[in-house]
Symmetry: C2
Subunit: 208 residues, 2 copies
Amino acid sequence: MSREPRREQLLNAADRVIQREGPSASMNAIAAEAGITKPILYRHFGDRNGLIRALTERHTGGLLTAVRAALAEPLERRDRVEHVLDTYLAGIEARPQVYRLLTHPEPGDPSGAGNALAPALRQIAEEITRAVQHQVDLGADRDLLAEAWGRGITGMVLAAGDWWLETRPCSRTRMVQALADLLWGRLAAAADLPTAVLPTAPAEPNGD
Amino acid sequence: MSREPRREQLLNAADRVIQREGPSASMNAIAAEAGITKPILYRHFGDRNGLIRALTERHTGGLLTAVRAALAEPLERRDRVEHVLDTYLAGIEARPQVYRLLTHPEPGDPSGAGNALAPALRQIAEEITRAVQHQVDLGADRDLLAEAWGRGITGMVLAAGDWWLETRPCSRTRMVQALADLLWGRLAAAADLPTAVLPTAPAEPNGD
DNA sequence: ACCGGGGTGTTACCCCCGGTAACATCGTCG
DNA sequence: CGACGATGTTACCGGGGGTAACACCCCGGT
């Protein structure tokens, strides 16, 4: 049996274990789940990071290409943005546990999984940057704005999607609307409230 | 000598070591830097997480209160938003190493510092949410929008600020403008570019 | 003067984890 | 057959987090 299929099997096992025990699962545990012992894992993945990386690449690959495709869709701008947002949210919605453990390495966990999503996010940010650069007329500042916005939008969607996935405060389409509205300047356009009380916030000096 | 001062000294030592060796610094190393041995650290902080938590609370406290104050400033909306953005960027600019190691636990690092910033960010998000709820008229959807936007804006600023700090592509004030412009819907308002080529992106199947 | 408690600190140890070395086995191709 | 490339094993190492047990030191109370 050539390397690749076995690799897949091992990744599957690692996946199961990590879903069950969290990202701090030990190499021993993963090996045991696969019915083998550690050195084999190391032969295939080099070190723990290699395993984690392979795992996350597998998980994020689909999402990344989906977002890429959504960005290239020939739609009106607002529709395209909504489409991208929806694609991302649908992606993380499809595998919430996976997504969660990629982004939220439970505290006190000796694993490098915290930034495992980082590469994928960086790539998404780059895609958005490129799309903005090629599709939107921003004048002289285009490069700077496109880059800053690419990162910013990615981070925005990450954080907001994260919260949405945890609390599920509304349907996906409504969430898409909320985020698109934010990007469409609704925060800027809305009227002021009549400056109610606002006593510098009650703010108990509570720490976390 | 009562507990508190010693605690501060230990935190200072931990700080130095972590700045020097990265967040993966061992408890042994920290203890050595403080001129003592491990059990004392454990007496004061319980476990490694306690130490890290105390450390990050110290570092993020100032930033958090600064942002809180900026949010309450009695300014025009755009000015207030810019003020908040500038406050945040100035905060991370002031201690780049600290910020970086809080957010970017170098890969392959067995430390729980990756999410150390998370509580502070959560609090910032809550502050923004409250501010939006109390200051902006958003109609029936106000609660949902305020919450989603609070998270979204926080994530946006985090990601964009992160990138800005790493690459320093422009002055702080320009960065503030770029982000405020994004929130003000400049992406939505800008004209289309004449749909150049855009062949679905070359996209070598390259990983990372 | 004596003791006890709360602080300081130590050495020595445990368990587990990531990672490696050395060795044994099986199937396939020349 | 023999070599090769895969499979797998046991046994070990270094080091990290965390704890137990013990020792000192000072200060306030009786």
